[in-house]
Amino acid sequence: MLTLMKPLTSFTIEMLHFLGGIGYLTRDIFRELFKSRIYWRLLIEQIYQVGMRSAPLIVVTAVSVGMVMSLQFGLGLEKFGGKMYVPKLLAVTILREMGPMFTSLMLAARVGAGIASEIGSMVVTQQIDAIRALGTSPIRKIVLPRVLACLIALPILCAVTNIVANAGGLIIGAVELKLDPGFYLLKVLSTSNVSDYLSGFGKTFFFALFIAIPACYFGLNVKNGTKEVGIATTKAVVVSSILILVGDFFISKVFWMVEKLL
């Protein structure tokens, strides 16, 4: 019993530390956001890093996801003669769930890891201290541009995913399922509506915060040397992914209730 208690208490303590730290960091981010000027040059640099440089990865992921889902839906529905429902099903699933989800998970892996290791290395080499000692704020100089870049880039990348994944679905629909491409496109456009799109789009803002804030937090909290940079990077990716997966359910639920009200 006692042997079980020890890791459990230390886990609880670490968890509380994490929650407290994330809370403080989020508060500081919003304070800096509204109180002081934004470094546009740094922001644009980060949008390029986060957005443009992730685009190839996102496109490859999206095509693959679209194609494989189209194939699976097609095979499944063919037995019941429901092949023509593939476009609608696929479009709605991608717009509402798979698009934002896959985009965010890929970004958590690529960008979250990058942010955590970069900031962690800056801590180890005392560059974060130097930013402070020179009378400037690491939150404003380092954290804020990265958070804002994720908030701007993720929704755009998600839109790219939506288009590319549906295109992937269309290709398989035409080649493998022998659906007419014109029919497929028409079905996609006529059956999916704005609320499908907005439901997925709205989530990406939350997911962007789930990626950027833990990554910055774990990076800034590196203490003793380069080994911890690796640990911080791993933690950032794991925590972001969990937040995205678990958060998705709750956010979907809330959006669903809102949609019903409207």
Binding site: D129, L134, S137
Partner: protein
């Protein structure tokens, strides 16, 4: 811990002190590094701070720019206790007090030029021409040839990084400079150049604390010397006195007879 608070807070001997540390305590976890450090530096003075490796000299300097918080005691800069200040309030202190990091702490994603421009761009409204003039003259001051400004810190030698770090710390024309082993790893020629820069700033009225193991530099630039031992200032002398009466713990430390 409590009883210490009843000690007199303001030593009467330091009327015009610019920097004053009073009964400073600092621990990292179980490890007690400072156990009641007190000293002061008057405006325009240079204090040499010596002590064994790991006695907490760097931590002390870091505390003086607010990078570390004291567990107990006061850290006064220009009459203000900076201990309880938050990051926002500390910005004004950090514009006055420059800390030259032991390892340089240069931004490795920026060129030397951008490193030196950083404090200028942040705190002054200057034209690009003015910035570049200041940077080039600063590089010359620290014995770095003019091509250096295009390089990234990664391609500089350790000694060069150190000098760029010093140059960056001094870009803002600070009132106080905290030097953390500025001459460690430098050749005699550059050591002399650093000494000259420190003396030049001193002549302009800059207050400074010099942490070093390099006694010739202490003799060349400091007005007084303090020895940090076992978490306290164990001895303090003016340079003249140290030159005249070689005895006591400080002499033993300097001669390598004790740690």
């Amino acid at each position: 811990m409590k009883h210490k608070e009843q000690q007199p807070e303001q030593p009467t001997e330091a009327p015009q002190s610019y920097i004053e540390v009073i009964d400073f305590h600092k621990s990292f976890g179980e490890k007690k590094v400072h156990d009641g450090v007190s000293f002061y530096v008057r405006k325009g003075e240079c204090l040499g701070l010596i002590g064994g490796s790991g006695t907490g000299k760097s931590v002390l300097l870091r505390t003086l720019v607010g990078l570390e918080k004291p567990d107990q005691g006061k850290v006064m800069v220009d009459g203000i206790d900076i201990g309880p200040m938050n990051e926002r309030q500390l910005i004004d202190i950090r514009k006055k007090v420059a800390y030259a990091f032991q390892g340089g702490a240069l931004f490795d994603s920026m060129t030397v030029y951008e490193n030196l421009a950083y404090p200028l761009r942040e705190h002054f409204q200057l034209s690009e021409k003015e910035i570049s003039d200041q940077i080039l003259s600063q590089l010359e001051e620290f014995g770095l040839d003019s091509g250096t400004h295009r390089l990234f810190p990664g391609s500089l030698s350790g000694g060069m990084q150190k000098r760029v770090g010093l140059a960056r710390a001094m870009m803002m024309h600070p009132e106080v400079v905290l030097y953390d082993e500025p001459t460690a790893g430098l050749d005699p020629y550059n050591t002399k150049k650093i000494q000259e820069s420190i003396l030049k700033l001193k002549a302009k009225g800059v207050t400074s604390i010099l942490v070093t193991h390099d006694m010739p530099t202490v003799y060349a630039v400091c007005d007084k010397v303090a020895l940090l031992q076992n978490g306290r200032i164990s001895e303090q002398y003016t340079i003249d006195k140290l030159k005249q009466e070689p005895s006591g713990a400080m002499t033993e430390f300097i001669n390598g007879e004790s740690a």
